[in-house]
Symmetry: C2
Subunit: 327 residues, 2 copies
C-alpha cells in the first residue's frame, strides 16, 4: 500500500500510479482500488523515539512561532511556514534572514513528519531538519547551536516550559531538546481531509467530479524539465553524488496542495491546473483537456484538510526583548 | 474621566495621575477613585464613520495576515504585530522589508483604535495608518497604492471577499477599502482585562498586591531622557514644528504592557520593572523600592487581557503566488 504522504520515501524510486484503467469501474470498485493504493492519515506522527508529549508539543508550538531564535530576532519557523497559507509562504523560493534567498520552495510543514526527507533527501527526520534550520545561514543566521540556547536562556518565561517538557534534565534548554519539542509539535500537525473520510469507507465524502479525478490521477516525478524553470537545480545528486540521482527531488505530499501555491521544488508553476497539466505531459506524455484537468483538480481539492487547532491558533510567547543587551 | 487608552489624546498635554494619596483609603474608596479616573474598555472600537461589519472584519483579518501586499511578498502587518507577542515583535525597533530599519518601536495593534494617533501624532485613524503603511518604504516598499490594488486583483480568491465586504462598489478592490477592512478588523481587537472587571465593580478582580500597585500608580511622559537612549528622536516636533512638541511622544496604552517588551518609543528598556523604575524617577523624582516596584508591576499585569479570538486564530488566505509573473 502506498501512503500518499510517503510516496517517494525511497526518493530515487519512480512511483507512477495511474488509476486511468479504473475509469469504467463503479464506485465500490474505485474505493477498493483506492484503499489498496493509499492509506488515510494517522491520528498523529509519533514514533517510539519521538513521542507526542503534551508539554513538548506546547513548548514546540511556542518555539515554532518565536522570532527570537534567529540572528536578528525577526524571523521564526512560522515566517516561511505561515498558518494562514497552510504552512507555506506563497513564494517560489523563500526569503530568509537578512534578505538571503533560499534556493528552494518552502514545503508545507503540515503532515511533514510523514515525508521523512527534505527536497533532496538530506534530512533524517523533522528533528534533524530543526537542528539544521537552527544554524542555517539562510533560515537562522545564528553562528552555532549554543547561540540559540543562550537566546532562550535569556527569556525567563521559557525556563518553566522547558522544565515541564523535559523533567529529567538538569539543564533542559539544549538544542537537542529544542529539536525534540518542535519535532513533537510538527508530529501533531495532521490534516485529515475528505479523501481520508473516503478511504475510511465513506464513499460519498468525494463528489462525483472528485471521484472522476481520482480515476485519472497519477503521481509523477522528474517533472521539472517541463516547468520552464530557469534556475536548474541538480537535486539529490548533490547529496549522494550518484548520477542516478541527477534531477531527483522528493515527491511532495499532495495533501493541501490546493492551498500551497506555487508548485514544484523551485516554485516555478503558480496555479494548480497548470501544475496538473505539466505533470500529465511529463509523466504520461499527454495534453489534458480542460475537463480532465478540472476533474483532477477537484480530486486534489479533496485532499485539503482543516488546519490543526494548534497551528491555526498561535501560542502566547513569554515576553522579553533580547536585542538591547547585544548592542 | 481619563480613559486609560486615550491618555495622551491631546498628546502635548502632560497627564500625570498619581493615586499615591489614596494609599490609606479602603477598597471601596479605591474602586470609586479608579472609576472616576479610568474607563473600562468598550466592547469594540466602531464609530459612525467606521462601523464594524462582519464581512469587513473577516476580510481585514485576511489582509492583515497576507504577505503578498508588500514589495517582496514576504512581510505582512502580522510580521511586526505578531499575535504570539501580543501584537508586537519584541524588537526595540522593527525590521521592515529588505532589512530596512524602522526608527521606532512597533506599538501593539491591540486596542489601538482608541489611541487615535501614532508615536508622533501623525496618524488620524487606524484607517489612515493603514494607507500610510501600505506605501511606506519601510513597512511595504510598494511604489504606490495602485501597486497594492493590482496585487490583490491578481489573487482570485479575494474578489468574492471584497464584493461581500463592499457590496455597493462596482470595483471594490481599492486602497480605501483595504484600509476600511483592516481598520474594521483592528477596531474589533479589544482585550478586556482583570482591571476592566474591577472597574465594572468586581473589587476582588484585582489581587491585594495589584490594588496596592494601583494606589501607587502614575502615568508619565517625557521619560526618554532617563532610558539611556543612544539614538535621540525629536518626536512630535517633526510633525508640528512647534518647539513645545520637542521630545513629545504618544503616551502608549498600558494595556497588555506586561506582554509587550521592550518599552518606550525606541524600545530602549527591556523589562517591565526597569520601565516602572524609569517612569518613577522621571515623573516623581523618586527611586522606587523593590517592593513598590513589584506592587506596581502586579497592577500593570492586571491590564493583560486574553487575545481576541480573531487575532489568536489566523485566517485562511486565498492561495496563489504572485512573484513568478513579476520576474
Amino acid at each position: 500500500m502506498a501512503n500518499l504522504c510517503v510516496i517517494g520515501a525511497g526518493i530515487a524510486a519512480v512511483l507512477a500510479i495511474s488509476l486511468a484503467t479504473a475509469a469504467e469501474e463503479d464506485d465500490v470498485t474505485l474505493l477498493k482500488r483506492a484503499q489498496e493504493l493509499f492509506q488515510p492519515l494517522p491520528k498523529d506522527m509519533a514514533t517510539p523515539e519521538s513521542p507526542i508529549i503534551k508539554e513538548r508539543v506546547d513548548l514546540g508550538q511556542q518555539l515554532f512561532f518565536d522570532p527570537r531564535l534567529t540572528v536578528d530576532s525577526n524571523m521564526s519557523c512560522a515566517s516561511c511556514h505561515q498558518p494562514a497559507l497552510y504552512g507555506t509562504d506563497a513564494l517560489p523560493t523563500s526569503i530568509g534572514v537578512r534578505q538571503r534567498l533560499h534556493p528552494r520552495n518552502a514545503p508545507t510543514n503540515l503532515n511533514s513528519a510523514l515525508n521523512i526527507v527534505h527536497w533532496r533527501g538530506d534530512r533524517e527526520s523533522v528533528e534533524d531538519q530543526v537542528i539544521k534550520a537552527l544554524i542555517s545561514p539562510i533560515t537562522s543566521g545564528q553562528p552555532d547551536l549554543k547561540a540559540v540556547e543562550d537566546r532562550l536562556g535569556r527569556i525567563p518565561g521559557y525556563a518553566s516550559a522547558f522544565k515541564a517538557a523535559f523533567a529529567d534534565a538538569a539543564n533542559p534548554i539544549t538544542a537537542q531538546n529544542i529539536a525534540k519539542a518542535i519535532g513533537a509539535y510538527e508530529r501533531s500537525l495532521v490534516t485529515p481531509s475528505a479523501f481520508d473520510a473516503y478511504l475510511n469507507g465513506k464513499s460519498d465524502a468525494l463528489s462525483s467530479t472528485a471521484r472522476t479525478g481520482l480515476q485519472k490521477f497519477g503521481v509523477v516525478e522528474d517533472y521539472w524539465l517541463a516547468t520552464g524553470s530557469t534556475n536548474i537545480d541538480k537535486g539529490r545528486i548533490d547529496v549522494t553524488k550518484d548520477p542516478a540521482d541527477l534531477y531527483v527531488f522528493r515527491v511532495p505530499s499532495l495533501r493541501n496542495v490546493a492551498m500551497t501555491a506555487p508548485y514544484f521544488h523551485d516554485g516555478s508553476v503558480s496555479t494548480l491546473p497548470e501544475a496538473v497539466r505539466v505533470m500529465a505531459r511529463v509523466q504520461l506524455g499527454i495534453t489534458l483537456s480542460d475537463a480532465d484537468t478540472s476533474d483532477i483538480v477537484a480530486f486534489l481539492e479533496s485532499l485539503t484538510g482543516d488546519l490543526p487547532a494548534n497551528f491555526a491558533t498561535v501560542p502566547t510567547l513569554p515576553p522579553g526583548s533580547l536585542v538591547p543587551k547585544e548592542k
